[in-house]
Symmetry: C2
Subunit: 471 residues, 2 copies
């Protein structure tokens, strides 16, 4: 029998490209081995690579412009309003949802549950069955939040009577919208629609909204970029961990709340926000949306302005490809599941919250928040490794958002789909996990890499635009 | 000419003990050199070392008991009261101050300034000159906060009419007291005593105190150990950085404040706390004091239960040496000075706040708070190095307070004066810097190592107790 080690008796040196495990095996049998970290690029349509490579300088210049606009963004919370009054194009029959476009028929369980809950909340239906009939009837127009300057976590359903935050990119003037975070447990965004869920939504509209709106009116505006920058110095990545950002938001609004509402209303609103460390998530998302929308429509740019999931498909939009969505199947994340649940219960990845990663936050900033990696069995070194890898696929580094543990280096910002494909490094995303059946709610939280297909398609889509244009 | 390198032509190997710079020099000239990190121990009285070494097992067992009591501490904020009503032994003529005992004659400028301010605040004097005469007259009894179960940052002056927090160590029942933090700028604790300073102290007694006391009464109690543990995960070391801990405190009290005070009072109190990221410092100190006082009076223990400075002397108390103070001159810290000030303006180190380091926080937990080291020109690697070195001089590691960047390792806890002397590694302390003249206030913030002399004297003092006892 020839043992592997025998092959290397003559000080033969092996250069290993690609899978580190090959190099480890060779070293174990005594072969001097140099490992070169290299992965074959993702496969794309035969002519797409040539077109992209031929236009590489043009793309790089466009990406620099896109990055500059992202870095210059100044997201500010400027007020609140009802969705029907402030979100452009939101008719009485429209329900917004997370991720790329999807029909009722293809919607996953938790998104269907959230649609049912929203129709109950709106008074359009009295029972689950009525709501499902209405949803399937063709009367309701389903549209992505992202196509209405909005973002929603998990199912991301926004209906006309829901109050929303109004975030303005003070540098470029564009607006973004997001609902208020309901807290954890049985909540609409995870597909629950019971009486308690609908009752909470009414309390949020009747008490939380006017109290917060008055306080914000008194404050004038709130600099969300500053809050996020501080929170990154305080252990948040403002996607799965928002304790610091929620605390800073709370400190900013509480004095104004106390001055503009009764003791009972102020007390109950402050208790509600205090009870939910994720309260800031929706603001982090709206701030990211307002920031990235300013980089839309930059010809030739391969920088992503959206990553979003509807629980069935994972969708990407690029600065240089207009309103086109590039999609592929969403995957089930690695997660820490709540007692009594397992990966078999989990819905595929869902929600617009990957807008934070698209903006260099969340999984891209996880080195600022090692507690999250610990949550799924890792440690600070893993967190640093994940963030460090993301610099390989981004157009640059943030000039405001920093990671203390990386010597205050700026977060990796501006996902470049060309780099994603050429390096076969997929964006790292923090996420919550919904039960796959409607009506149940959250079953865990975890991390995952984005699926390859949407990025391959986006790369090919950009190639088509590059080829099709007068170039 | 014989060059240094020529001496090492014959593959002579050099073992270098001590100063790393020698090893570097040898390496530069090509001498194979092994560097062993070693520093000669601090010099102590000739027979003290023998006594301590002969009792090393006894000391180790006592230190284990002291550490166990420190780790078991459960500091809770249980309410507030006026100093005269709640601090034991605080007569109408008593003024408490930071650090070891000191007379008016030996007091530094900022402590004299704070005494003047306190006498103006109490209405005992109408002018600086009157106050200085009264202070020098012998009527006023000056006593260390630490001898009255209290702690005070910087000058640390506590007078009878000042409201104080009451912190209870729920595990052992002992209490600790601290005033409320005044904010930054011209404040009493930095030696300022102008009209604005005294007016603020009155507002704190007349508005802040009753509002906070009512809110705390409604809450029942607040688990300070939990707040500190969370804050360490959020970039604080709860000495020079308290932004997270202040935010968490704010979140806990704000709803109760809104429910128990008028909108105007609640608003002004919340604005005051929000405006001062150091508000939690005094609670961090009182929590540390309550924790460490439970380890007093453990025979044979070389664990420090107090490090404190009065701006003239640096004092240490040990678990095993009763009420004895071991002192030496306080030193001027390395600091970032405010514009217009330099080290020449700085008073030597002052304040009871080193109780946080004594409790494994502050400089001992600085790896949790790299922003502080950055402040004086360092980075995260320096912060990790400082904290890592402190494990060499502590009895153990905290079981609740963790450092995320060190894989959530417990903070180095229980300063062992024997290790300090034997290894010549001095405690690392974060600090604020007061102007050396009375009436001016803060001029900077920085870091320093404690002076050696108090630790040498404490070591010798323990040796005397070990020798003097029936052993």
């Amino acid at each position: 029998m020839t043992r592997l080690g025998d092959l290397f008796d003559q000080r033969l040196e092996v250069v290993n490209l690609g899978l580190e495990s090959f190099a480890s095996t060779l070293r174990q049998v005594g072969a001097p081995t140099v490992h070169v970290d290299w992965t074959p690029p993702l496969e794309v349509e035969s002519n797409a690579r040539g077109v992209v490579r031929a236009n590489s300088e043009r793309i790089a210049a466009a990406n620099a412009r896109a990055l500059a606009r992202i870095l210059a963004g100044m997201p500010q919370l400027v007020g609140m309003g009802l969705a029907r009054d402030v979100i452009p194009g939101l008719t009485e029959d429209t329900l917004l949802h997370a991720g790329p476009p999807i029909s009722w028929e293809r919607m996953c369980g938790p998104m269907r549950g959230a649609v049912v809950g929203a129709l109950l909340y709106e008074g359009r239906s009295r029972t689950q069955q009525e709501a499902e009939r209405l949803a399937a009837s063709g009367t309701i127009r389903f549209a992505p939040c992202h196509e209405h300057a909005a973002v929603g976590p998990m199912a991301g359903v926004v209906s006309p009577s829901m109050p929303v935050f109004i975030v303005k990119n003070a540098e470029f003037g564009n607006l973004a919208f997001a609902t208020m975070n309901e807290g954890l447990g049985k909540v609409l965004r995870y597909g629950a629609f019971g009486e308690d869920v609908v009752r909470r939504l009414h309390w949020m509209a009747d008490v939380l909204y006017p109290v917060l709106a008055r306080a914000l009116a008194r404050l004038g505006s709130m600099d969300l970029k500053n809050v996020i920058a501080q929170a990154l110095h305080m252990g948040d990545e403002v996607h799965n961990r928002n304790r610091a950002a929620t605390s800073l938001f709370f400190r900013l609004v509480a004095p104004a709340i106390a001055r503009t509402s009764s003791g009972e209303d102020a007390g109950s609103v402050l208790e509600f926000i205090h009870s939910n460390d994720h309260f800031f998530l929706n603001l982090s998302m709206a701030a990211s949306k307002a920031t990235l929308d300013a980089a839309r429509g930059i010809a030739d740019s391969s920088v992503a302005v959206v990553m979003a999931r509807n629980g069935t498909d994972f969708g990407v939009q690029l600065a240089g490809t207009g309103d086109a969505w590039f999609t592929g199947p969403a995957e089930v994340p690695d997660a820490l599941y709540f007692p009594g649940f397992s990966k078999a219960d989990a819905n595929p990845d869902i929600g617009d919250s990957a807008i934070t990663e698209t903006n260099g936050l969340g999984g891209f900033a996880i080195a600022a928040s090692p507690a999250i990696v610990q949550f799924v069995g890792g440690g600070p070194a893993d967190a640093i490794r994940y963030t460090t890898q993301m610099y390989e696929i981004t157009a640059g580094e943030n000039t405001t958002y920093q990671i203390p543990g990386l010597d205050f280096r700026g977060t990796p910002t501006g996902i470049d789909v060309v780099k994603v494909v050429e390096k076969a490094v997929l964006p790292f995303i923090d996420t919550g996990v919904a039960h796959k059946e409607p009506g149940i709610g959250q079953v865990g939280a975890g991390v995952l890499n984005a699926p390859a297909q949407p990025f391959v398609r986006a790369y090919e889509g950009l190639a088509r635009v590059l080829q099709g244009g007068a170039r």
